[in-house]
Amino acid sequence: MTNRQISLDNIDRVENLTFVPLEKKYLKAHTAATALAWLGLMLLPLFILLADELDGRNLIVICAEAVLLAAGLVNLAILPKAYAYKGYAVREHDITYRSGIVFPKTVTIPFCKVQQVSVRQNPVSRMFGLYAVDVVSGAQMLAETVIPGLTREKAEEIKSLLIERTRNENR
């Protein structure tokens, strides 16, 4: 049985890392996507107007729309703060992604556990010329970590780095 001492003094700890921020355009893209989502939600109460027999349906629709509008505005207001917190950091043996505003979270995936890396776009991010890197591991939970808001060059660079490091770690 070995009994080696474990010391964390010579490790760049996750809380001390300098996180690379996402592209500034990502804030605009995220704002557009969020606004579209809330607009979609605000369309739903309009179907209540089709219920002719329902008394006071106008009032119900106005109330629902007001609540949704308020929630949407609050959501849009906190997006810059959420954007400022988001970021990624690469260490010698793992990659860390930080996100969340109400429940800030930090996820770290060791390179040796990475099973798949891919670069993707959705219609909104395509409009802004942004890409996301999907890092997939074999975990039961948190199997997929997405780093959004990257330029094509940056996304490809991260992908290549991850693939190379994963290959080296598994050697």
């Binding site: 964390l8 490790i11 996750v14 556990k113």
Partner: protein, 518 residues
């Protein structure tokens, strides 16, 4: 080279055809019974008895012919062989499909021997990989072919030097288990290093273990049986359920009970579901045998249908050990060896579970090494009272809603029910806080996450896939965070840990999971 070494494509033996035929008959039986009943009672056209018999005989002949043809196609156009360390399976009539599975990628090899299989002395062999949730391939083999296939698979495994083989040299050498009845024994421990060891578990311990579980699980068995009955009744006649409801409605007055009667019915129902649960466990896990050899674990159990599972020690991602107060009192435990989530079809209970016997130490010795108990602690962290809120939050909402509803209807005496519910929930929350902790040992991780039961999960560092730290809006004041670690089959979230301890554990997990020196 003789054909018995699986080097050339071969069909399953002739008896496999009869198993496929019987499976076909079973598969179409419901459809045939439905039509027989329809012809016998439900036809609008006037027919003589002779006509009806003729139609039924024709239907049965068609049924037999269909099952025979499909079984033949399934048997004839299915071949398998082993080549270059791969199990190759060719099947299909119109479009020929070839499935190739590297034996090193087989997560577990399972066998099943239902009633038909046992009558024909055959067994269904299933190969699980991580590529899909269900078994990739099922072969129906007789005992001779099964043994030959096992030998060939073992030969292929020996050809590939693996860590599993070296780890198997640390097999446990304890001579007897510490179960209350002492009926579970290790045999062949002395030869363990070469030919392996075996554990056998008494049926008495199994019944004891099943009795110690939450019997309300029997409700699931009851509901499954009722659902099957409901399905059969509605298949035969859509109006049958309406007739039953009408009958109950008509006789509701005569069937009404006194309050004491409801208590008796509830107690009787509880005992009934308890018996159902114990019966289910007994059928599934009776005459249990576990063999450990060359880094492989073979698990076989079942009273009528015998099921087995064989997998390498490095395929286990977590060893789960539960001891509730009944199990502690009766010196038993529930041990579960958990594999990757998509490794097995969990609905069929392919995870290895051992009820009743106090065999945790033996499985842990096999998996973690015989010296696992002496592995020194590196760091430990306990959950705070934030966990209590998390455990109680739903119960608080339910109790509040129930209390408000009861107060609105003026049923103040019944307010005792949500109050009692809340008290139980409080006890649950306090116990959860008392038990929840994580300990990083030199060689493995120990996670305690029970409430009323003492649950310990053992995870190897190499099984940790991802680690996450999550704060809450209260973190700046409480200095507490949640730590999640996920393996390929299990995931654990430890809530309300001190932020400094959680960060330390986070880093140590990352350092150790890749096996690199820190």
């Amino acid at each position: 080279m003789r054909t018995g070494d699986f080097s050339e494509p071969r069909r399953m033996s002739g008896s496999a055809y009869w198993v496929l035929f019987a499976k076909g008959l079973k598969g179409y039986a419901g459809f045939v019974v439905f039509w027989v009943v329809m012809i016998a009672i439900g036809s609008e056209v006037e027919r003589t008895f002779k006509d009806k018999v003729e139609i039924v005989l024709l239907l049965l002949a068609g049924y037999l012919a269909l099952a025979a043809v499909i079984a033949f196609v399934s048997w004839y156009y299915k071949k398998y062989y082993i080549e270059g360390g791969k199990l190759i399976f060719i099947h299909g009539l119109l479009s020929k499909e070839t499935t190739s599975i590297p034996l090193s990628k087989v997560q577990s090899m399972r066998t099943k021997q239902g009633f038909i299989y046992r009558v024909l002395e055959m067994r269904g062999v299933l190969f699980d990989t991580l590529a899909s949730k269900s078994a990739e391939i099922e072969l129906i083999l007789d005992d001779r072919d099964w043994k030959a296939l096992m030998e060939r698979v073992e030969m292929e495994e020996e050809a590939v030097p693996s860590a599993a083989v070296s780890a198997s040299s640390e097999l446990p050498v304890s001579s007897e288990l510490s179960g209350a009845s002492g009926t579970s024994r290790f045999s062949g421990a002395a030869e363990g290093r070469t030919s392996g060891s075996s554990l056998s578990f008494s049926n008495f311990n199994l019944i004891k273990g099943a009795f110690c579980q939450n019997h309300l699980q029997g409700m699931a068995v009851l509901f499954a049986a009722l659902a099957a009955v409901y399905n059969s009744v509605t298949t035969v006649d859509d109006h049958a359920v309406d007739h039953i409801i009408d009958y109950v409605d008509t006789h509701a007055g005569t069937l009404s009970l006194q309050p004491s009667g409801y208590v008796v019915v509830a107690v009787a129902l509880y005992f009934f579901v308890m018996l159902l649960w114990i019966g289910k466990v007994f059928l599934r896990y009776a005459n249990m045998e576990v063999r450990i050899a060359r880094g492989q674990l073979n698990f076989e159990s079942g009273l009528i249908a015998r099921n087995s599972s064989r997998f390498s020690y490095d395929k286990v991602c977590t060893v789960y050990v539960k001891r509730n107060f009944l199990e502690q009192w009766l010196h038993g435990s529930t041990v579960m060896l958990r594999q990757a989530l998509n490794a097995t079809d969990e609905k069929k209970g392919a995870d290895v579970r051992v009820y009743g016997s106090d065999s945790a130490a033996d499985f842990l010795s096999w998996w973690l090494g015989s010296g696992y108990g002496s592995s020194p602690d590196v760091i430990s962290a306990r959950s705070g009272y934030g966990l209590m809120w998390h455990v109680m939050r739903l119960d608080i909402l339910i109790s509040l809603a129930a209390a408000v509803t009861l107060a609105c209807f003026g049923l103040s005496v019944w307010l005792a029910v949500p109050a009692a519910w809340l008290l139980i929930s409080l006890a649950k929350g306090l116990m959860a806080v008392r038990r929840s902790r994580i300990t990083l040992k030199e060689d493995y991780i120990e996670i305690y996450n029970g409430r009323f039961a003492d649950i310990r999960n053992y995870v190897k560092y190499s099984n940790v896939e991802v680690v996450r730290l999550r704060s809450t809006p209260f973190t700046p004041y409480s200095r507490r965070v949640s730590l999640t670690l996920s393996t390929n089959g299990t995931s654990f979230t430890l809530r309300s840990l001190r932020i400094e301890e959680a960060r330390e554990i986070y880093e140590l997990l990352l350092c150790n999971c890749a096996g690199r020196p820190s």
